[in-house]
Amino acid sequence: MSEKSGAPEGKTPEPSAEKVDAAAAAKPGDTATSASLAAQSTSEAALEGGSQNIGPIGSPEPEVIEVRHGMFGGGPGSGDTSGFGGLVTTVALPGASERPYGGWFDEAVDILIELLDASGTGFAAAIESVVVDRGELTLHVAREHIVEVCQLLRDDQDLRFELSLGVSGVHYPHETGRELHAVYHLVSVTHSHRLRLEVAVPDGDPHVPSTTGVYPANDWHERETWDFFGIVFDGHPALARIEMPDDWPGHPQRKDYPLGGIPVEYKGATVPPADQRRSYS
């Protein structure tokens, strides 16, 4: 439906040619289907599931964060006969990119590799993956090393990301073990570059070291992220709620927190609040 517009350039025009049926792939001794081995690869499963961010087969694996079944709330067993109940949607975000990244990204990553290896932390330990998507560079950083990475990005003269545009959170409830993401956006005024850092922490242990020592601007942003998502920033001078009242229970912008609206009644009809309506996705 909307696959034609806005699809990334790498996507092949007719994905069905590359789709491999899971059953067919599992047939022993079938050497004709070269694109898969014993089971479908994540890309193929995601493609079959309707995900719209897949490159050609063989390109880096997208990061599947969720698989949804059904639409309008009618999954299998709900009595819904419209046919939408059998819909399987795989939600996959762009995965790690391969070199060359393009533009100034390669140089910056190389400098970072050099600095991290020199400091003893090691690039592979600190940076989990490098994603280049839609002209933006995203570094997935391991939480223990976020402060060091920020320090290096700020201080090195070729990187010089002096301006921090703050931290915010994203909650991916289905990405077990990496539910809460803290997203940092950095700007280099000197070199006119922009960068994103992403730290993923599990729900059970949502601690991230605070970067207020490197970027004091993140002070209120970290408080806001704690307020809305429950990510605890260790080392923050005063991590308290900032938007919600001080004694508010829960963290409102998490996906498991209800929108909290009231049903609207008018002359006998009731419209439920937005999070309880049937929805298209």
Partner: protein, 183 residues
């Protein structure tokens, strides 16, 4: 002592007219602009739409000196006790005009953070929808409030009017039973 002991009947009506006229003549609002409606309220206060012709351009910062609280904008959960406190600090007679849909009913923000209508917190005399209401709409609401103030009964009449209003409310159909064309 005061208005409450005024006589009833014809004399009371004259007193009511006079008192209503004076009260509406210079209704001083308290600065209670919260969000977008506050900007339109400020625009109403400036020379193009000019509520100074109604004697209202002096927005009193202190609620002790104000008669009217125009709740202009969305009332968040954190702000609700402040609204109540400012309302309580205003001396009688006082009126409340809830400006904009957010103050009247929560507006487009049907969620955890917004009080769904400031009438959950303070008694409202005039509801003004709009997002944000134009300055002319605000002036219309203020004029409607002026009419209300002019017609406000005092003394014995006030007691009777309150009793009648209560009886009418008890006998009226609740909103949830108003099926309209759907029944």
């Amino acid at each position: 002592m005061g208005i409450e002991e005024a006589p009833s009947g014809f004399l009371l009506t004259t007193v009511e007219n006079l008192v209503g006229y004076f009260r509406k003549g210079s209704l001083w609002p308290v600065t209670f602009g919260l969000a977008c409606c506050a900007i339109e309220m400020m625009a109403t206060g400036t020379s193009r739409y000019d509520i100074s012709r109604f004697g209202m351009e002096v927005f009193r910062a202190s609620p002790r000196q104000a008669d009217l609280m125009i709740v202009a904008g969305r009332v968040s959960q954190k702000m609700a006790p402040v609204v109540r406190q400012v309302y309580d600090q205003m001396p009688e007679p006082k009126w409340v005009l809830s400006m904009g849909v957010c103050a009247s009913s929560g507006g487009m923000f049907n969620n955890y953070a917004i009080v769904q209508g400031v009438d959950h917190v303070v008694p409202v005399d005039i509801y003004l929808p709009g997002c944000p209401p134009r300055p002319e709409m605000l002036i219309n609401a203020i004029l409607a409030l002026h009419e209300q103030i002019q017609a406000e009964p005092l003394g014995v009449n006030r007691k009777e009017a309150a009793r009648a209003a209560e009886a009418a409310a008890l006998a009226a159909t609740p909103t949830s039973h108003m099926k309209g064309l759907l029944a």
